[in-house]
């Protein structure tokens, strides 16, 4: 019967098992145990994170749907709503980079169209180990072609994202994929199973023995026994999903559906129990009717399978024919496998016998919740200490070297593999601060940015959480967008380790505080724990996805300099903060120091000011200062300018030149203004109590920065551009 060994295999504790027995009033059979193990896994139940996620602000006047559904929904006016969410697919992407990443994209796409929205954009946030190791190159190459393979094929543009490199990801890369969709506000669908007698339809791919225990795998640490725990990674079928997408949107447009839920991790188990539980109904299904790809599958296997590209639909009895006709038009079968019932139980039959009979509420809602122990990690004290670094006569070489750091270097090699233009909405192509999606025939446009610097979070998780939000919002401000909603993917190590739990708590509190200050609701997200391999945890890596609205698309800005002889103005203040910078990491090979501090109110002021200046058309370009500091920010402004315009600046700050050039002090934006406007801008800044400093002028083909009248950087754009542009392609160049 069910013993400790079986429980271990299902990642359940003895206490949890006792609770299951108590909840269902008897010992579960193996299929029932499997169901509980999936739904009570960390991945599905959020048992370690729930208490802390509660701290995130979720309300806002435009929130149609906050956390708790497949994706969050925000009202953007004109009868339209945006639907968005981010998810991780970290473990599978390490085991099988191409398919792992591809099915990650497939999963988040389903979350969006399940709600009745047409996906209009994907973004991906990727973290890899250093490219000096061949294995990391292989993983990166595979992951990127996997996302490309899926997104390009299904016809959703991948319009942005970010890529960072750090040793902590060598055995545990991160693949977080964000998806944004658009729906009519009054045509949104939920995972409901209302109305006893309504029929339950299964659509999409046949069920095979795919990834059985994938969700429990995402809830356990990888160790030496990786080989055995390796599940069958699923192979994605973007073509099938494209058909599903079109067919689902068609039945939704015709109002034939009561409720709909995709089958992602935890497959039939999750979709049946969640849909029933959400509506306070029961459900009865017959596994003999489930389309199967393999022979001799047991009820356990069918219920736990994670085969991709499947959906569960509840439809009114008299509409089923019509639903089936539409699916058949798209060469898909929609098979009746059961019905909604009164009561609150999931009853599953197979071979004429009842193999599962359990209360759905117990499965979905009554998993124990843990407040796990947390303690400050021992590394904190020494890691945040940073001895003064040697200063240099000039920084020409260092600057060029820094530009070639893969984390800072041009990512065109990556996004060129993504179809980022399909659907003809991409008004600002990848590479800039945020991606802009126009809304056809509308003045308004959408902007999206992803952000998350894990080195900051490692060295100060609370600050790291705040900065992730701040930077994403700053990116939006730079293109002229006001943030309306946030989603987040929290990638951490093993939460059973108190030090990891501490990081987690701190990051969440940082995110919560920032979201409150900026007054933006968190509408959903995802937590990925157990990102450790052989006992080594990744740096805490929150990835924030923020969506914003540009009121007037014609006023949107890009980061690149627009013309010669414009004033280059810094909004914000330079400070002596070199800790946790890419400069000390790439040039001195250290991951140390205190990350930059952040004053959230000041940060918000800067955003508001930037938005005001854009609305008044006082500025012609804007780019925020982030990794690599002011010097790298300025270089990017030159690189992004069509004619590769240079600049000549003189800075007077009383701080050491290295910190001035490469420190990553927050709340700074570099803008340019034409002669007549720069004065107005500076005046407005004074009125708004924002620090604004004219640093110099654009022009020429060199990048020149002086400090107190002494040149500390004087580099030709061509040379610097080459280092920046060629760094990543060079690594992958075919021999």
């Amino acid at each position: 019967m069910i013993d400790k060994k079986i429980l271990d295999e299902h990642n359940l504790t003895v206490e949890e098992y006792k609770r299951i027995v108590q909840l269902i009033g008897r010992e579960p059979n193996i299929t029932e145990l499997g169901i509980f193990s999936l739904m009570w896994s960390e991945h599905c139940s959020y048992k370690s994170s729930k208490m802390h996620l509660k701290k995130l602000p979720v309300r806002g006047k435009n929130v149609i749907q906050g956390p708790g559904e497949n994706a969050g929904i925000i009202d953007i006016g004109d009868g339209m709503a945006i639907v968005f969410k981010i998810e991780s697919h970290n473990h599978p992407s390490f085991i099988e980079p191409y398919q792992g990443a591809a099915t990650g994209a497939g999963g988040i796409l389903r979350d969006i169209f399940t709600m009745g929205a047409r996906p209009i954009a994907l973004l991906d946030s990727l973290r890899f180990g250093p490219l000096s190791k061949p294995r990391n190159k292989t993983v990166m190459e595979g992951v990127i072609s996997g996302i490309a393979g899926y997104g390009n094929s299904i016809g959703v543009p991948t319009v942005g994202g970010d890529v960072y490199f750090n040793g902590c990801y060598s055995l545990n890369p991160l693949v977080n994929v964000f998806c944004l969709g658009i729906a009519e506000k009054d045509k949104i669908f939920y995972a409901k199973a209302e109305g006893a007698g309504n029929l339950v339809l299964y659509v999409g791919s046949k069920t095979g023995r795919d990834g059985i225990h994938g969700a429990t795998m995402a809830s356990a640490e990888f160790g030496e026994d990786l080989e055995q725990k390796r599940p069958n990674v699923q192979v994605g079928d973007p073509f099938k999903e494209k058909l599903l997408l079109e067919a689902c949107l068609e039945i939704m447009a015709r109002d034939l559906v009561v409720g709909i839920q995709d089958m992602g991790a935890a497959g039939l188990t999750c979709s049946t129990t969640e849909m029933a539980a959400k509506s306070g109904s029961g459900m009865e299904i017959d596994l003999d009717l489930v389309p199967q790809r393999e022979e001799g599958m047991t009820p356990y296997e069918i219920m736990l399978s994670e085969s991709q590209e499947r959906m569960l639909i509840v439809a009114k009895k008299n509409k089923v024919r019509e639903v089936q006709e539409i699916f058949s038009k798209w060469d898909l079968d929609a098979v009746i496998i059961g019905h909604v019932s009164d009561g609150d139980r999931l009853k599953v039959k197979a071979g004429g016998e009842t193999v599962v009979d359990i209360p759905v509420d117990a499965v979905v809602n009554l998993c124990p919740v843990y407040e796990r122990e947390s303690v400050i990690p021992s590394y904190m004290e020494s890691a945040t200490r940073l001895d003064p670094l040697p200063l240099m006569e000039n920084y020409d070489q260092t600057f060029v070297k820094l530009l070639s750091s893969p984390t800072l270097a041009d990512k065109e090699w990556v996004y060129r593999q993504y179809d980022h233009m399909v659907q003809v909405n991409t008004a600002l192509l990848p590479g800039g601060d945020a991606s802009i999606l126009r809304l056809k025939n509308k003045k308004k446009a959408l902007a999206v940015a992803l952000d998350g610097n894990s080195l900051y979070s490692y060295l100060n998780p609370r600050t790291g959480g705040k900065i992730a939000v701040a930077e994403a919002c700053r990116n939006l401000a730079c293109v002229g967008a006001r943030p309306v909603g946030v989603t987040n993917c929290l990638n951490f190590g093993n939460p059973e380790k108190p030090e990891i739990m501490w990081q987690f708590k701190e990051v969440i509190e940082g995110i919560a505080e920032a979201c409150k200050t900026f007054d933006i609701p968190v509408t959903g997200g995802n937590v990925s724990f157990y990102n450790d391999t052989e006992g080594i945890s990744i740096f805490p890596t929150p990835v924030l996805g923020v969506v914003g609205i540009i009121e007037d698309m014609n006023k949107a800005l890009t980061p690149g300099f627009q013309e010669e002889e414009s004033s280059v103005i810094l909004l914000g203040e330079n400070k002596d903060e070199l800790g946790a910078s890419e400069y000390i990491k790439h040039v001195f090979n250290m991951e140390k120091g205190r990350p930059p501090q952040i004053d959230l109110n000041k940060e918000r002021q800067i955003h508001e000011f930037c938005l005001e200046a854009i609305a008044l058309e006082l500025i012609e370009s804007a780019h925020d200062v982030s990794e690599g500091g002011l010097a790298v920010c300025l270089a990017e402004c030159s690189f992004f300018s069509r004619q590769k315009i240079g600049f000549s600046l003189n800075l007077h700050d009383d701080i050491p030149p290295d910190a001035l050039l490469f420190g990553e002090t927050q709340s700074r934006i570099v803008v340019t203004a034409k002669d007549g406007n720069s004065k107005k801008l500076l005046e407005l800044a004074e009125k708004r109590k924002v620090k604004a400093t004219e640093m110099g002028k654009t022009g020429g083909d060199r990048m020149i920065i002086s400090h107190l009248d002494k040149k500390i950087i004087d580099v030709s754009i061509n040379e610097a551009h080459k280092a920046w542009k060629e760094s990543i392609p060079e690594v992958f160049r075919m021999r």
Binding site: N152, G155, Y415, R416, Q417, Y418, D419, V424, T426, K440
Partner: protein, 229 residues
């Protein structure tokens, strides 16, 4: 002028093309479903970009067996205008309506970017609004756009002026770097000998509004539309 945009399972530029023809070019436009046998009296059939049948066998290889293709071939053989864009071009090659085949891009990666193409022949129904030698900025997005054909076919293409577009740099020069996917003769677009069927890898529908960075694609649609005016 009435346009028909074919939808194959897996087409994904069908809506884009429809939108541009209808909302930007202001033309009567309709979708054509691959399973039907009805061209709905259109004057021009467009085979749009995307991944018909996932491109699982080869790009365009399965779409060519769609029921509607019987009508499209008949329509084309009678001189009807057919434009294949990207995956649509690949379908035309598979159908044998245009000569040659596509290999993977020379760097073996999917490529999505703006490219420049040069109008090599403006005496066609698809390019009459352009100038010979004119450089157009139009995006590509494909995995298999590396055009290849036997030497004698290439000779014929050249002799008949069937090469319509070539990849070039911003100044109109042909070179290896500008020929991003490695196509023979830098070929980016072709017509058949009678001049009523064109295939091109770049996406004119993605270059029909300034907000997307270029309007050069409109030259192609304008050329087609002007035919009947």
């Amino acid at each position: 002028m009435k346009f028909g945009v074919v939808i194959f399972p897996g087409s994904n530029c069908d809506h884009d093309t429809y939108y541009v023809l209808k909302d930007i070019m202001k033309q009567e436009t309709t979708f054509l479903w691959h399973k039907e046998h009805d061209l709905k009296n259109v004057d021009c059939v467009i085979l749009p970009g995307g991944f018909s049948y996932g491109d699982y066998l080869r790009s365009g290889a399965i779409a060519k067996f769609s029921p509607l293709m019987l009508e499209v071939v008949e329509f084309a053989n009678k001189g009807g205008l057919v434009l294949g864009i990207c995956n649509g071009f690949q379908v035309l090659l598979e159908l044998g309506l245009l000569p040659g085949a596509m290999l993977r891009n020379k760097n073996l990666k999917f490529l999505c970017q703006h490219v420049h193409i040069k109008v090599e022949n403006n005496k066609t129904l698809f390019t009459r609004k352009g100038k010979k030698g004119q450089v157009l900025k139009i995006p590509i997005a494909h995995y298999e756009g590396n055009y290849i054909a036997p030497p004698d076919t290439i000779q014929e293409l050249k002799a008949n002026g069937q090469i319509i577009f070539r990849y070039c740099d911003a100044e109109g020069h042909l070179n290896e770097e500008a020929n991003v996917n490695g196509s023979l003769e830098s070929i980016a677009g072709l017509v058949n000998t009678s001049g009523n069927i064109m295939g091109m890898m770049p996406h004119p529908e993605r270059a029909s509004e300034m907000i997307l960075g270029s309007e050069d694609g409109k030259i192609i649609f304008d050329s087609i539309i002007n035919k009947l005016v």
